[in-house]
Symmetry: C2
Subunit: 344 residues, 2 copies
């Protein structure tokens, strides 16, 4: 029996509960496919009083995340706290302690990804983040593995399901306020919807994708950003009259001189556009490169179950590193400070 | 400087020429991303007299594929001959000689994949085949890596670009014969179109995908197959009148009892179906599983450049195995003889 891959999970919210639920539901399959069995050893959250959708053995629970990232009996930390701090400090500590980290934290990566990846490389551990972009769509692995041979020239798509849900509802006649309220009721919006509707969330994601696609250190502040809060029914109707849909659309492109432009903003997409028909909370990503041409991926961009699919795929990858062996070199890198010339 | 990954390419047709062209065009990028540089050492083809789109140093060329798969100075054989023999024997020989193999050969895999993967496992080398299904769409890696944590229940899609091109042309009013002639002119059809239009090609591909998705030994003969040669303009018009398109559609599904049904046949898809809008030579694959839900991938399903993208992604993967180290365990396996109970 191989030594288990001992997991410390920090941040026990909906996503964390989803990961634990799937770890249990797909136990047989995970055991069969993982050379080292995935073993949940610690679960940390600042507030252990609120009810959860899964039960966890009391002995595993702690309200001290710091103790988890320093625990010598943990091989990999799964960071699902979100936001910049304390997540960033905890992740850096975990990496410096020689632990792998799996994270879904797009904000942290869009602000500090290159620096954290450099720490991981220095300590010969891995920082994996399939869940940070596109929810269940395996876009990070697709860019870094399946399409690794390509010179990517453009990556674009619908990266925030909340905005897409609201815009889809508005296209069927609802006002912005009605659509937002509906999204709230269905659980598609955070208590504070700002990060979604003002485009910060999509900007985080396109910064991460652009960094990977172009091998440059592209951060949140490099993204031209505009949200959807000023879109009116009149805008929607005018677009529809021109056979277009308004989508909150993220684009990262590199021109022939290597200059990069990254933006996320309301955009008119014609009926012949690949993403015109991407409705509701779905996400979609379109990648253009040589030699592949154009590839599109579409799927659930958020939610505990799709995110669990992504988090677990990273854990399974780690389980295939043999005991005591350093992980194979990664294509998943962002060189810190390597900035592209800006596109005019 | 790391020891190069020495490549012996067997089968120097359009696809082989595409691989060599991209190896050159993306040299800088490949060198930067591959710990071991990809080095083309031998190129074999039974007929070296016909003209090619790329020039290859005469010293690399040979008409003796057998000598390449036995050459001790070759680390990996890229098999692009296609068909069952001599490809199967050459691939098995290469694996038994301790070489990795990268192949685009769907027919060989659909007939002998499980057996060849067993030889690869025994010899502790890897048989990789991203290019065998979906052309440039990285569907094999998506199934085996990005969605590895999922219990797949269904995988379906449009897997033959020629059939889809013909059916798309017929939907715009052309007869089957006119559409086929047009596909010929554009280079989308082999000299003998039988394997495409009778559905053998799509059957090969869905057998491979079903094997990977369900972890069973599902072969070509397990696929219920019907081609597109009997579809008339009248059928197309009737479908269109019902707001449907006729697509040559491949489906592999597993029911709750673990029984599997695999088929490829002309199928009516309504306008709300994910693959209704997949037109021309595009391919698309839809995967359903738990926890991810539904994911769709769309892109160029054939052609030298998309296929080269897939072949090179496999070679890049191999270049990351450290010298003398055995490759990490693979999820890319088909257990020989492990047959699912058939669905009634």
């Amino acid at each position: 029996m191989a030594r288990p891959l001992r997991i410390g999970l920090i941040g026990f919210g909906n996503i964390g509960a989803g990961v634990i639920e799937v770890l249990r539901a797909n136990r047989d399959l995970l055991d069969a496919r993982c050379p080292r069995p995935l073993q949940l050893r610690r679960v940390a959250d600042i507030d252990l009083t609120q009810p959860r959708s899964v039960e966890v053995d009391r002995e595993l629970l702690t309200d001290d995340s710091e103790s988890v990232v320093r625990d010598p009996e943990i091989d990999v930390v799964v960071e699902l706290i979100g936001g910049l701090e304390p997540a960033r400090t905890l992740v850096e500590t975990a990496l410096r302690e020689g632990k792998h980290v799996v994270t879904a934290n797009k904000a942290m990566l869009a602000h500090h990804g290159a620096d954290l990846l450099a720490v991981a490389a220095e300590k010969r551990v891995r920082l994996l983040f399939e869940a940070a972009v596109g929810g269940g769509i395996p876009i990070v692995r697709t860019l870094c593995e399946g399409l690794a041979a390509n010179r990517i020239t453009r990556i674009e798509g619908i990266l925030n399901g909340t905005c897409n849900y609201i815009l889809t509802a508005m296209a069927s006649g609802k006002t912005y306020e009605e659509a937002l309220a509906e999204a709230h009721e269905l659980g598609y919006v955070e208590a504070d919807p700002t990060a979604d509707v003002e485009g910060m969330d999509a900007a985080h994601k396109i910064a991460i994708l652009a960094s990977l696609a172009f091998g440059q250190d592209i951060r949140y502040e490099d993204v031209d950003r505009e949200g959807i809060t000023r879109i009116t029914q009149q805008d929607i109707r005018r677009a529809s009259g021109e056979n277009c849909a308004i989508k909150h659309y993220a684009v990262a492109e590199m021109d022939e001189q290597g200059r990069v432009a990254v933006s996320v903003r309301p955009t008119l997409l014609g009926t012949d556009h690949l993403c015109h028909e991407v409705v509701g909370v779905l996400n979609a990503v379109v990648i253009e490169g040589f030699p592949v041409g154009q590839i599109m991926l579409k799927g659930p961009g958020a939610g505990p179950k799709p995110t669990a699919s992504a988090v677990l795929s990273d854990l399974m990858w780690l389980s295939r590193i043999e005991n005591g062996q350093s992980p194979p070199p990664s294509l998943l890198t962002i060189p810190p400070g390597k900035k592209p010339p800006k596109k005019a």
